[in-house]
Amino acid sequence: MLLIHCPYCDETLPELEFAYAGQAHVVRAADPSSQTDEEWRDFLFIRDNVKGVHAERWQHVHGCGRFFNALRHTVSDKFLTTYKAGEPRPVLDDTERSA
């Protein structure tokens, strides 16, 4: 069982209260009709698939209901930090990056 810190409730809670919601910081174009087919394909389907630190969206669905973002290491599955939606992706130091 993963323990996840909700930045809105400020509590660390079991993963059963949360739902995963894909990669974070995927931004829809401001003017959708200006997008080419390739740009739409990248926006809709192409994701990072990094080995290392990955930014994810999560929702505290059985709690405050809010979406927030998390930095998670895809090798260890560890949550490195969580932050509110709309905040920039935090910069981690080297010790956290290798967690």
């Binding site: 409730c9 400020d10 059963l16 209260e17 059985h62 709690g63 209901g65 809010r66």
Partner: protein
Amino acid sequence: MTELALSPDFAPGLLAESAAARVTLIAPVARFSLRCKPASRATLARVLDLPLPETIGHRAHARSREALRLGPDEWVLTALEGDAAGIAADCAAAYDAAPHSLVELSDREVTFAIDGPGACDLLSLSLPRDLDGIGVGQGRRTVFDGQGVVLWRDEAHSFRMDVWRSFAPHVASLLATGCRELALEM
């Protein structure tokens, strides 16, 4: 050990009782979901004559009305059943000064009261959350065996749990089974 089925018309009363815990379906109450921006909070608190808590999980109580903060912009209100029309009218009158969303949920949920020395153990059977994180006089929205519930902790061993009506028979039978099993271990 007493164990009674949840009646199809949700008649309030005792559902299960053992040496460990007692589960009761309580009488219907008026329930509302209130959502608003921070700027509207003070006005709505004055209109409702009920403080709206600032911290998620905290509760406020005034006469027969009670408010629990569920999220950054969301509260659940409970009141006497006859009070529902008055609350809706009062908030509607204040809408221009304090924009908000008020939705009546009275019939969506039923409330189980769970108390007794084994109340925490009984809830822990299907509640992943650490109950020590919910102080006496607080409440939380959480999950119980896959169903979203609102849990109110009234005393150390006394809880109320709001469950969606359609899931209530399942939750009631789980709680009754738990009552029986925990009594065997005592």
